[in-house]
Amino acid sequence: MDGLKRGSTAIVGAAESDLGQVADEMSPMDLCAQGISGALADCGLAMKDVDGLFCAMTQQRMSIISLIEYLGIQPKFIGSSMTGGSSFEFHVAQAAAAIEAGLCSVAVIAYGSTQRSVGRKQASQREVNPYETPFKPFLPTSAYALAASRHMHQYGTTRENLAEVAVAARKWAQLNPVAWEKKPLTVADVLKARMISHPFTVRDCCLVTDGGGAIVMTSAARAKSLKKPPAYVLGCGHGVTHMNISSMPDLTITGAKQSGEVAYKMAKLSAKDCDMVQLYDAFTINTILFLEDLGFCKKGEGGAFVSNGNIAPGGGLPVNTNGGGLSYCHPGMYGLFILIEGVRQLRGECGERQVKKHDVAMVHGNGGVLSAQASVILGGGATV
């Protein structure tokens, strides 16, 4: 089995819905629809062209059926893999497979959430685990905090290192017109904010916002005739290590190691070839762990790597150029937004925050509590 073919498909359309705090009674499906409308307009395709549909949501138990009903279409191929925030990176690989196999020709991947409007408890159902729930971990935060404690113990990573991630994200957000949090933020501000689950203060944690969006994928051949430069899918990989944090084999090594290796192999690229990284920063430790596991620095050196502005605007490696889940938006399952940002950066559409060299983007999604990792390497026209 050869697997997916490098560059055989592309993301051709990308759009967000309303973000932040949306209008009263706006539904997650309304936000999906806004995103789909925008993403189709972005590439010049119409609803009648859509014959593949993918989505995953926390607020709709059978979200793909709800979305089919809402849109009034009969797609030939549908998918609704639910791996939390990384669902959409999984969907990209599945859509690529479906397009390569001729099961559909234009696939839409969509998401919407009103978790800020309805409250986080209403937006996502908590599961009872008899081996964890009695100890009252504040999930998902405490799970990531446990991972941070271990990284700090093994590698001397500091709370200041973690705070540097939040500060860099905020600096990028200040360059993004639609980012939610733009107030200046310092390392000291992060450290003295309200403690949630040690070592995390509220500023180490992602935002709680509404929002949605969509991307459109098609074959590389068809992509060339559309409105905007294609973002070719060069590599895809995933790694699932556990569901609950007490079952994670090593809290300092995530499934991103495997997902990255698989994606790099397919793309015939390595970390040094990536001009930027768009990764799922649910908590500040994520950025450190994923940069290490994806090969941007050695294991244990992530704390130093993110410090001194190295991942902020003007630094050595642009990371989360939209401001990330920490400062731009975080509507529950954030993984779609890093794909949107990757596409826009490759096209050179990002205005003030535009990265100078923008041929290859590593997009890395995270789901659960460091549980389900999925990497997608996107490339511009020069890479295929």
């Binding site: 009695p134 009252k136 971990p137 446990l146 689950s197």
Partner: protein, 126 residues
């Protein structure tokens, strides 16, 4: 085959009710399995034996949860000497004094009412 007469979780809890921390051992994998289940996650085999832990353990990871209301409390991942890990808490010391590498020992906590007993830990030196 008749239906199983008990579940992995019920067996685990029945040991806790006796003051024991039980875990499974996979002879084919030659290693401990936790949480209790029907199939060994290392081999796929359904041959799993129940064993009783000595309860001697080391803190693997730790956090202090600061709830909106009430006092901060500890949540830890604990590695038992038999080679399995579980979520628990370390009691009898301030939550922020729980450190990685600290030696701890098991005791059963009985919340009472409808709630099942749970394994908690205290510093070995105490």
């Amino acid at each position: 085959m008749p239906n199983a007469t008990t579940s992995p979780l019920a067996t685990y809890i029945s040991h806790l009710e006796k003051g024991e921390l039980a875990y499974q051992f996979s002879p084919e994998a030659n290693r401990a399995v936790f949480f209790p289940r029907v199939l060994c996650p290392f081999t796929g085999s359904d041959k799993l034996e129940w064993r009783i832990s000595t309860g001697r353990s080391t803190v693997y990871a730790t956090t202090v949860v600061y709830p909106a209301e009430g006092a901060p409390f500890n949540v830890a991942l604990v590695d038992c000497d038999e080679g399995f890990r579980l979520m628990s808490r370390v009691e009898e010391i301030a939550p922020e004094q729980v450190t990685i590498g600290m030696r701890v020992k098991f005791r059963v906590h009985r919340p009472g009412g409808e709630e099942a007993p749970i394994p908690v830990f205290t510093p070995e030196a105490a």
